[in-house]
């Protein structure tokens, strides 16, 4: 119910947004439209929050605000596909954290949608977007089934306006972290439990009225959770499962096949070892690149070229930081993927177009093409380089100020004189 309302409101907001947005012409830069080869001395026109033209020698509308990008690089805004952004302010302050539905004895929280906890005024949003990250999928964490996440743009002060789609996916985990609480301490138990919940959701859907009248058997998850799993069983809502060991990924593929689920693997540390299986099943993987240590017994095969090897085998890969406070390091992850064998253009796609495709919003996101939402970044060099500055960030056609709590603290403390520093600056 809530979700449907938010989705409807999001569509309305997108339609309504243009009133506030300017006409912007970004000229002279090397444009990476992602949908095609780079365009030297290209122009990007933005009107009413949408991209209206991209190319060389494009006519500039009268009255357009011009951004001279000569010598610069222009790309779509980066898309972080796995974060708890806007769901936590300070990691150790529990009351500020809204991504985990705890005290759930059955480890199934399918009905939990994080959307109502999204804080558009999160101080983490500005520090992230000034690094060129314009769009995120913010997700629940914890438990066998953690709940539902949403995609949103990092601009606005109402979640229903910011949302791109809510819910955008169901989240779960078959990692070792869940074994104790949800799997009787075992891998097999985790998958048994996952199948039990899916079976119960099917059974509930066959006779929901009977359930209300108490005519059905007992189910292993709550009515709300079983109802929330229906779009997953219909293959409409993707199930993002965190899995790391090669055999866990294969077991997840079997469950997806048995129940006709639209599966996305998150983490996939040993994915390179079962890349063929993933490619054949057309299951994409959300990869954190900077993970090469055998941190646990489910990640003994961790290596930096996981993304490159998966891609080479034909698996669609989105690159993610997996971080919340440091989601601004998305380009560093992508750059390292290149250092470890992923072709450069593929790395760019893995933080723009591919996450948009994986989450089914590529009609509006992921490339610089007419009709797409105007999330555009101007960089003073290679977007994946750490020494490249972000010069302009445009989200939904509006340029966002390059200010965050972090830059405000920096500027305040440039002067250590208490009499100057400690007072409000006009």
């Amino acid at each position: 119910m809530t979700n449907r309302l938010i989705a409807a409101a999001a569509a309305a907001a997108l339609a309504a947004a243009p009133a506030a947005a300017q006409t912007i012409a970004i000229t002279g830069g090397t444009v990476h439209p992602i949908s095609g080869p780079a365009i030297p001395n290209g122009t990007v026109i933005i009107q009413n929050g949408r991209i209206t033209a991209v190319g060389a020698g494009v006519a500039i509308p009268a009255g357009a605000v011009r951004i001279d990008a000569t010598g610069k690089t222009v790309t779509p805004g980066l898309f972080e596909s796995s974060t708890n952004l806007a769901l936590v302010e300070v990691g150790s302050v529990d009351a500020s954290a809204d991504f985990q539905f705890e005290d759930d004895e059955d480890q199934v929280a399918a009905a939990f949608n994080v959307a109502d906890g999204i804080n558009p005024r999160s101080m983490v949003i500005p520090v992230t977007r000034i690094a060129g990250v314009t769009t995120v999928v913010s997700r629940p964490s914890g438990g066998l089934i953690a709940g539902q996440g949403l995609a949103f743009d990092l601009i606005g002060d109402r979640v229903d306006e910011m949302a791109i789609r809510s819910p955008i996916a169901m989240y779960g985990s078959v990692s070792e972290n869940e074994q104790e609480a949800a799997g009787g301490g075992t891998r097999g138990g985790l998958f048994m439990r996952l199948r039990e919940v899916l079976e119960d959701a099917r059974a509930w859907a066959r006779n929901p009225q009977g359930f209300e009248r108490g005519e059905t058997r007992e189910f292993s998850a709550s009515r709300l959770d079983l109802a929330a799993l229906q779009p997953v069983l219909r293959g409409e809502l993707p199930l993002v499962l965190e899995a790391h060991r090669a055999t866990d990924i294969q077991a997840a593929l079997r469950v997806a096949d048995e129940y006709g689920l639209k599966l996305i693997i998150s983490g996939g540390t040993e994915g390179w070892m079962v890349a063929g299986d993933l490619a054949r099943a057309r299951v994409p993987v959300l990869v954190k690149v900077l993970r090469n240590l055998p941190e646990s017994f489910e990640s003994l095969g961790a290596r930096y070229d996981n993304a490159a090897l998966l891609r080479r085998a034909g698996v669609q890969v989105a690159i993610t930081t997996g971080e919340t406070f440091k989601a601004f390091n998305l380009r560093q992850e992508a750059g390292n993927a290149v250092a470890y064998g992923l072709p450069y253009e593929e790395a760019l796609r893995a933080v723009t177009l591919y996450p948009a495709q994986i989450f089914g919003v590529a009609d509006r996101y992921g490339t610089l093409e007419p009709g797409k939402v105007a999330n555009v970044v101007v960089w003073d060099g290679d977007p994946l380089e750490l020494t490249t500055d972000v010069e302009h960030v445009i989200i939904r056609g509006r340029e966002v100020p390059r200010v965050s709590r972090e830059t405000l603290l920096r500027d305040r403390y440039m002067n250590l004189d208490e009499n100057v520093r400690s007072y409000r600056q006009p």
Partner: protein, 483 residues
């Protein structure tokens, strides 16, 4: 690679021994109260065999102010013999073509827990926090270090040649640190950096009061400070009594506290040896360097006052998310800052970060250091330094690549008290050298070759020069892709 001549290998060994305090194993340790902490668990590190080697054609960044395009570095007997546009290489020297590459000193991390919190991170490998008492100055982290931690070889692939292993931050006094050469070894003794001073890990703020708040305290920041001061009072007393009663103990390197040479009390036998107080007294003598985990500016200022009260020096504040707020105080007291480029948000005392922290501390004239505290971050300290450099430039602070390189080499070496031996490419220093595929501040840069004391310890192009830990051997039999 050709094997080094045995004569050269012997020469390299001699060089390592003469500069350090490594004691021949057969010399009996002195007995009694005068026994010095450095006598126990001596380093058995010996540089691996090496041949005279000249690296030429690359851009040499010395971290001592020079950037030499198409420069040359000569390593002989484990030492930097010459650096310049051209060097006089001896006949028969191994020539390494670094055309199109970059050459820097080995990277040094002041804050690692490799081996103490080993990988995989199972409970059985959790050996970094002796969280049984807020003061465990008596523990030495080297007794927890597992040399087969795969993190060491991963760090080596990232150009790390020396690193300080610290106890964790659960305690006010976490124990003694150890500085290692990042070489494969059966034992931690075989990694110990010869002659490197010990460090003492201290911790401020949230961690100790969280760990002990329900276990008898401290439960507050004021409780933390009382804990430090109580311990230093006992340590000063121990040192006085030990110096008075000890035979040849001496008090070399005294920090001039005003606590020494007190006239109260008289004669008497020296106190029995106390491991906890021995370490703290070592700090008061200036022999052991204080490495202080501390996030908030106001707490760092308190710690500076405590150091002044008891007459010791803080060598480095670690993490120092708010170091930029008291960068002038750090510069005044010559305290370095071992900092992250951009970690923040995980707790209240890590809230007030700015990405310009490192550059602002640098600009104030304090020694800025980029540290990791992380088995992944340590592999990419060059990237962390690059981000901190860029953040400084965005803030309008002049930061050269030489400056940023020093954040992960020379300044780190200073914090560990090994700056006379490593940290720059200067003649006479130990030949810890990295050859990078790209400019080290590029995200695409990878360490192609890593030399430690002139010996090629890692070569990205040669699998036979890529160390593998015992743990990883045979771990994934048949573990190949099924694509």
């Amino acid at each position: 690679m050709k094997r080094a001549l045995s004569a050269l290998a012997l020469a390299a060994v001699a060089a390592a021994c003469s500069q350090g305090q490594a004691r021949p194993a057969d010399r009996p340790a002195p007995q009694g109260a005068s026994q010095r902490p450095a006598d126990a668990f001596p380093s058995t590190y010996r540089p691996l065999p090496s041949s005279p080697t000249v690296i030429r054609g690359g851009t040499v960044m010395t971290a001592a102010g020079q950037v030499i395009p198409n420069g040359q570095v000569l390593m002989v007997n484990g030492r930097i013999a010459a650096v310049g546009q051209t060097v006089d290489a001896p006949a028969g020297a191994v020539v390494v073509d670094a055309t199109g590459k970059w050459v820097t000193p080995g990277v040094i991390d002041t804050h690692s827990h490799l081996g103490a919190f080993g990988t995989p991170g199972v409970q059985a490998h959790s050996d970094g926090n002796e969280a049984t008492n807020p003061n465990t100055a008596e523990v030495w982290v080297e007794h927890s270090v597992w040399p087969q931690d795969p993190g060491f070889t991963r760090a080596l692939e990232g150009g790390i040649t020396s690193l300080q292993i610290l106890p964790g931050s659960a305690n006010l006094f976490g124990g003694r640190s150890v500085t290692l050469k990042n070489v494969p070894s059966r034992t931690v003794q075989g990694m110990k950096f010869p002659g490197a001073p010990y460090g003492l890990k201290m911790a401020c703020g949230e961690n100790p009061k969280r760990v002990y708040g329900q276990r008898g305290g401290p439960s507050t920041r004021m409780g933390n400070v009382a804990g430090y001061r109580t311990a230093w009072i006992r340590a000063a007393d121990y040192r006085r009594r030990m110096d008075r009663g000890g035979s040849a103990g001496g008090s070399g390197g005294s920090a001039g506290s005003g606590e020494s040479g007190g006239s109260n009390g008289s004669g008497g036998t020296p106190p029995s040896r106390d491991l906890e107080l021995e370490t703290l007294a070592g700090v008061l003598r200036g022999e052991i360097l204080v490495h202080n985990h501390c996030y908030r500016a106001d707490e760092m200022a308190q710690m500076i006052d405590i150091s002044r009260e008891f007459g010791f020096r803080i060598r480095s504040f670690h993490h120092g998310v708010e170091a930029y707020k008291i960068r002038d105080l750090m510069a005044r007291d010559s305290i370095s800052g071992s900092l992250w480029a951009d970690w923040w948000g995980f707790k209240m005392e890590a809230l007030d970060f700015t990405r310009a922290n490192v550059a602002m501390v640098h600009q104030a004239g304090a020694r800025a250091i980029v540290h990791s505290d992380d088995p992944t971050g340590i592999q990419k300290l060059n990237q962390e330094a690059a981000k901190a450099m860029q953040a400084g430039r965005e803030a309008g602070i002049q930061v050269s690549e030489n400056d940023a390189l020093r954040w992960i080499t020379a300044n780190a070496a200073w914090a560990l008290g090994i700056h006379d031996q490593v940290g720059t490419l200067e003649p006479g220093k130990q030949a810890d050298v990295v050859v990078w595929s790209h400019n080290p501040f590029s995200v695409y840069a990878r360490a192609d070759r890593v030399y430690i004391d002139g010996a090629l310890i890692f070569d990205r192009m040669d699998p036979s020069r890529q160390p593998q830990t015992d743990f990883e051997l045979g771990l994934l039999p048949g573990g190949t892709s099924n694509d």
